[in-house]
């Protein structure tokens, strides 16, 4: 499929990754245009059910991005996200969601090139995998 554009849902923490995404846009980094951004107050509030809901509503990949360990605005929200991510990734794998469709990343406000890089990597690998269903 040549014209397949994967849909990526990105839950971005308001205090860091969202700022990075914004800056990435402002500084016109080349980035794939298939991302739907959902701004959240902290990566720790992205309940596993949000991720399942995104996949069940047609997302091809889900990114959760938050502040680096130690930098979370709410002290340990990102650790909560980290703790959940492993079990969630295993459950998704069991249900047939390929590895690489779900990612948790730390992206600080100043790291807009990193944001663009993650998005480009994800859309490339998901394009290889093809649509979810």
């Amino acid at each position: 499929m040549t014209d397949y554009e994967p849909k990526i849902i990105a839950f971005l923490c308001n205090w860091c990754s969202y700022v990075a995404a914004d800056a990435a846009g402002v500084s016109r980094f080349q980035q794939a245009a298939n991302v739907r951004v959902i701004r959240v107050f902290c990566s720790g509030m992205v309940d596993p059910s949000y991720v399942l809901k995104a996949f069940s509503s047609g997302a091809d990949a889900v990114l959760v991005a938050g502040c680096h360990p130690g930098d979370c605005h709410y002290i340990s929200g990102n650790m909560k996200a980290l703790r959940r991510s492993f079990l969630l990734a295993n459950l998704l794998k069991e249900m047939g969601v390929d590895e690489g469709r779900f990612r948790l990343e730390w992206i600080a406000a100043s790291e807009s090139p990193r944001y663009a890089e993650v998005i480009n990597e994800m859309s490339e690998s998901v394009r290889q995998l093809g649509p979810m269903h």
Partner: protein
């Protein structure tokens, strides 16, 4: 005129249907209130009998829809019955037979290999196991009694409410304490349960479980034979996979009360989006460590999470695999 009723099982273990008989002297009472017209298990009724019946008031349907004849019976009952009641996890959510959906049928695998014996006499299988209301020809289920098996007291609350017009007060009062008030009021006043009523509570099993949560964390997952405390601390916090937090309350913590983790037989509470997601978040929040490698190690100890978190609900409540 006495209401006409049907009692049937599709693909299940029949324990739910047997619950109907578990009322001892109540059986004769049921006969006084209702005219049982179709009950293959007890009366030996056949599909031909069902075809001859024009109209039924209530049908208590247990078992999942896994075969062509399950589907045909369910669709016909839906057309003839005023109120179709899903009894037990199988009928309500697909139940344990629903776990078949995780794997391609053995017959299909054999057919792929080209070695299907021609004379294989199996009932015609549906491509997926479904809950009663997951069948195309069934637009609604009028009431649900969850549980595996659906417990005698709640089945009887449903029978009293739907068949006896609220007359069997004693039995309803017995179950009423476990039912939400909005449901009990119309039942007791003889109006019958609201459409789509679920004969169970609305919160999670944890709300009525006798065990104490201490915000303790665990280092490794345990199996029931590795930890047993008949009373006391929350089982989840001891490292056992207790699904009380992702399960609809109504049993009063029947299993947890005797030291056995909840396996989720009442399905999810209305406020929970997906039982698996809820369990992932509940379990992970009790991990003590913050080191990725250590978390990975604990997480990898969990095998068959799908079969565990959706043990009774895969066809109906698993957001990624239902349908």
């Amino acid at each position: 005129m006495k209401p006409k009723i049907a009692i049937v099982s599709a693909s299940g273990c029949r324990a739910c249907e047997t619950t109907m008989l578990d009322i001892h002297y109540g059986v004769s009472a049921l006969n006084r209130w209702a005219e049982i017209q179709f009950w293959p298990f007890v009366l030996g009724s056949s599909m031909a009998d069902l075809e001859r019946i024009d109209h039924l008031d209530v049908c208590f349907f247990s078992g999942a829809i896994a075969t062509g004849s399950d589907r045909a019976m369910a669709e016909m009952l839906r057309k003839k019955c005023d109120r179709l009641v899903a009894v037990g996890a199988c009928a309500a959510y697909g139940g344990m037979p629903g776990l078949k959906n995780l794997k391609k049928p053995a017959t299909a695998e054999a057919a792929d290999r080209g070695d299907l014996p021609e004379e294989l006499a199996l009932p015609e299988q549906e491509n997926r196991v479904r809950a009663l209301d997951g069948v195309d020809g069934i637009d609604r289920v009028d009431a649900v009694v969850p549980g595996c098996p659906a417990p005698v007291n709640l089945v009887w609350a449903a029978v009293s409410a739907l068949v006896c017009g609220g007359e069997a007060d004693a039995r309803i009062t017995y179950a009423a304490a476990r039912l939400p008030e909005e449901m009990v009021r119309p039942i007791l006043s003889g109006l019958g349960p609201p459409p789509g009523a679920v004969f169970a509570g609305e919160k999670a099993v944890c709300a009525t479980c006798s065990r104490k949560k201490e915000e303790k964390r665990f280092k490794a997952v345990k199996r029931p034979y590795q930890a047993y405390e008949s009373t006391g601390r929350c089982l989840l916090e001891q490292g056992l996979i207790c699904q009380g937090i992702a399960t609809r309350e109504g049993c009063g913590g029947l299993c947890t009360g005797v030291g056995v983790p909840c396996r989720g037989c009442y399905g999810k509470p209305p406020a929970t989006f997906d039982p698996g997601a809820k369990m992932v978040s509940a379990i992970s929040s009790t991990f003590e460590t913050e080191k990725p490698a250590e978390i990975q190690k604990i997480a990898d100890d969990f095998v068959d999470m799908t079969g565990c978190f959706y043990r009774y609900t895969l066809p109906a409540q698993c957001m990624l695999m239902k349908g």
